[in-house]
Assembly symmetry: C4
Homo-oligomer: 359 residues x 4
């Protein structure tokens, strides 16, 4: 539990340091601000750097102690990239405002960055074939249009379309619908071609975006399922059902990491989900309070009766819950009578137990 709390503190500290660093480095490039606020900004930056230095030293120590996994190597590299460039640049005589631009590398040390990048790379790898197909189509449209506009406009606008690189710049600005307006075709024919280009360009861009977005969604869902499968085995109720039923249920569960002390259910609110405890413990605020541990579930009453929540529920430890939405709960209970039965039995058993307990 201590480790978890510590990780939480560090988890908040690092993003804060990254944000501070980026803001300070950004402001440092503005001459007026550099004059008036240069010193405090640099102090803030050095503090943040010190923090990353500590992190880096710890990774290096662990590596020296023999922890040579791929993750350890990546951590070491990311740490070095965060810590070393700024001092090196300053040593090599770079101006402070330029040297501190390397703080942009601090972003790479965020957990979110790593997981986002890992997902994106996986999607690109899996969808490489359609992505290259579309990319080649895009490049073809790009060059075809640029050459056409170069031929049509170079005599009328030598400063804007006088060379193919300029025409290519116009084409990429147009096909991505950015449309700066620094180069605009003027001839009737040029504009007709450009108009058709915009329509077709949008189509190709849509393919490109569509493949990535769909792949990313699939990958997100895959990771959720992977985590759910790992957690589902810890709930006794599910273990008693057959694997076919579990596979069916897993697709409808979401996991939710609740920090210790957070409120899960608020009395009097409408019930929209039930919860299974995959890890940790919660306390139901009835009198006397009831504690539920790993494998138990709660919140099913409001879904069955339609009445508002009967009591507050709060996590007493860092807890991981599996959440079943009311809509999925109803569908699953209708399609899998054994699940409905298992929940009802367990629910009755617990109520009976509570009733027997001395108040």
């Amino acid at each position: 539990m201590t480790t978890s709390k510590e990780r939480n503190r560090l988890g908040l500290l690092r993003p804060a340091a990254v944000a501070t660093g980026l803001l300070a480095a950004t402001l440092l490039t503005v001459p007026e601000l550099r004059g008036a606020w240069g010193l405090p900004l640099q102090i803030a930056l050095w503090c943040c750097l010190a923090l990353f230095g500590v992190d880096f030293a710890r990774s290096a120590l662990r590596y020296a102690q023999g922890e040579r996994s791929t993750a350890a190597r990546v951590r070491l590299l990311v740490g070095a990239l965060a810590v070393l460039p700024v001092p090196l640049a300053l040593l090599l005589g770079a101006e402070a405002s330029s040297a501190w631009l390397w703080t942009v590398l601090w972003l790479a040390s965020l957990d979110r960055f790593a997981s986002g990048l890992a997902m994106l790379l996986r999607v690109v790898r899996l969808e490489l074939r359609p992505l290259t197909n579309v990319l080649i189509l895009f490049v073809t449209v790009l060059f075809g249009v640029a050459v056409t506009l170069y031929l049509l406009e170079r005599h009328d606008q030598p400063s804007a379309f006088g060379t193919l690189p300029q025409a290519l710049w116009w084409a990429v600005v147009t096909l991505t619908t950015t449309g700066y307006g620094d180069e605009v075709p003027q001839t009737l024919l040029g504009r007709t071609v450009a108009g058709l280009t915009m329509l077709s360009g949008i189509a190709v861009i849509a393919l490109w975006a569509g493949i990535l977005a769909t792949g990313f969604a699939a990958e997100t869902r895959r990771q959720e399922l992977l985590r759910t499968w790992d957690l589902i085995a810890r709930v006794g109720l599910f273990r008693r059902l057959g694997p076919t039923v579990i596979a069916e249920i897993a697709r409808h569960l979401r996991h939710w990491d609740v920090p210790s002390g957070a409120q899960v259910i608020r009395q009097g609110q409408p019930g929209d989900s039930m919860y299974f405890i995959a890890e940790g413990e919660v306390e139901v605020a009835v009198s006397p309070p009831v504690r539920l541990g790993q494998g138990a579930f709660f919140g099913e009453m409001a879904l069955i009766s339609g009445a508002p929540r009967a009591a507050d529920v709060r996590a007493t430890l860092p807890t991981t819950l599996l959440v079943l939405d009311i809509v999925d709960f109803r569908e699953l209970c209708a399609r899998l009578p054994e699940l409905a039965q298992a929940i009802a039995d367990e629910s009755d058993r617990r109520r009976a137990e509570n009733a027997r307990a001395p108040s």
Copy 2:
């Protein structure tokens, strides 16, 4: 029924007041119009404010009488935000045209705003993990590109790329494909980097948009299902089918709130849906007219025979219908013979009853 009508009237009055208020406040900021039309515009605004004042007073009264639910508190807060800022600003000596800008808060008192915001927040909460992943990727690309362009362009265009905040402004304008064209890279290297940026930027934006759009669609469908499940139990025909069949049907029904007096079916039109009455009453314009109440269904004949609608159908009370599209009707009847049978039996029974009835 009176309450329902009253709510309808109020439901139209409030959006009208919001629209009038926004329009008037907008026009009031134009000096020419303020001169010529200042008085009538302000009178209109005060009238709208009075309306919100009445609303607010009513909420406050109810709260004073002890209605302390979360919804009541939100209503009170939204009402206060709609009513108080303008008079306060005027009291504090603000100009009329500035004070009335607070009418923008009136939008928050629309039901649609509340439900739209609630859905969006729920989606953001559920998809927080992938959304932050993508946001961090976006911020990384943003800063990476801005720093690169700042280094490449600051000497050639000190007025446009002379500081990192300026380069960041260019980057955000470009990566969102807004493309004002107020800052445009000029160097060959700068343009090459910018061109690649646009392509990758579009990809990241597509991920961001895709997650939200998909989540919103799922949430919309969830709410529709939730409502359908609540209504489906009121239709006798469905109660007689097993829960598995109901779960299957529920996914294909849509609910439709029909105001009293509205026409549901027009004679002679092709039949594209059948209707189940979850609440209210309709009148079928045969002679003598037949009234159908809660739990009944109609419109199935045209789906079975393929003939056009045989008679007008009109709601005689505020009615909630469950609509089954012809495509889903055919698929469901093919897959669930018991549903087809139940509909046919009931249909026959009603026709026999009508035949027996004295004309």
Copy 3:
């Protein structure tokens, strides 16, 4: 058959007239072209108008003869809108170049326009609830941002942000990512707000676009299914299978309207679909040629054996085919053994028949 051919001719004539009319009316507004080419352009326009006049006269005649369906009324109205405005405008003394702008109404007489509009309206009606939710969110963001930027920028840029309507113009140009660049925030705070706005604006626009695109896709699929269900009953093979199997198959079939004489299968090409004849007739170019009529199927051999197409197939009448893709064919045959069996039996029977036939 004659009617079908005639409809085809007319079907091509009308789009051609609309395109000609729009092009001529467009060119007529350019002073230089009006001088040099005014007469031929106007002659072309009058010819096209004459064509629409004939169409209109025919609709009017049918209406006078008593055909009073909704479709007839719509046709009459669309015809009147296409024919009357130009002469009326000319009579009322409008310039020719202005009067002919009404040709834009000719677009409404295209079948594609009608079906596209009908689909869009149906989608808007079905998705009204989420669409209004999102629209209100968008309007709120729009006004919120406009008011903020108006307050932040009006002193620095009175000509661009001096009134709220100007700020609203900036906001709508920015939130839709159009980004003309005619009004650009200059203050640091204004740009920060604008940058965040772009990101959130993209999200709201994505919701708006996503709802419409998803609804449109669902509606397209629904109409395809509706048509397929109507056609599937004409194929004997399917009638012999149970309704559950038909419902399953229908979801995988596409319909294809082939004009008389068109080639359906080319010898030697890889087989990627099989075809069921819902209407019309095809000729298989073996010797002697074999004609297949309504209810027959062909093209299954290449799917089963993997060999290239054995013979050309050509439609001898206007034919409507139901197309089953090779991927769906394999999946359906694996999941529905009775379908695989029925196809194999019929296939064998036909081959035996062909073998018995005198060559």
Copy 4:
């Protein structure tokens, strides 16, 4: 194997030649670079052209030898388009920098271009109906808006909206959200119409993009399935399962072409997939090394036990694998006990065999 290696080398050579050619031809249009680097650029271009010439000669030879398939004809045509235009243009007296612009046609000789274009054309053909519906809607909005803005703005801005073609240019630039800003409405009414246009324009563009993106995704999935079905029959394990099970599994498999010598599994990494060998051979780096040929599978142990990979696996021949993701593996095993059983049996059998083998 030699052919495969040779194809690989050529497969990398051609894209390199296309990229070099495009880059050189682009740079050749810049007067400064043409002066300084004209000769080396042209030499590079002639070298690339020679390469395409060899390709073309080979195709022509094969054609002369009697290979007259459609593919051979296409290859001949594409080759001619790549090779002939530049020399012809130079012979006809064109400047070198203009003549070399024809290198843009080299893109057509890339395999990726062909497959991307084939997919796009197939999607357009299949979705022709909704695409034309939407296109007509778009054209209607385009002309309607252009005419309206032309009427509203032509007196205030004769240079920007003085003719309908100019207004159409503005409309297409705006509706595609490109927004150059070269023509911007100024009147209040013009801006109001323009603002509404942007919103509706986005909707129509979204429909257009949505249809293409969805169709492209479906087509990609279809081709993957087609390939998988062809490969699945080569794996003995699957042949033993019924066709219903195979159809189910096929939807979850992806194929992966691994070049000879590439590493498939790295020892110590977490297991996220298992692999079936559809073609080729791999070597598992245990001692003594085990070779697995066509029809075998590997990587299932880490999925079952959750332990990291036990050994490296490397392809010894160009190999095609069918990849089953861990998430799909679990779901399939839960739903299809016969699959789980078959994998377990085979796995046990192999382990026993390995144990018996002399070390």
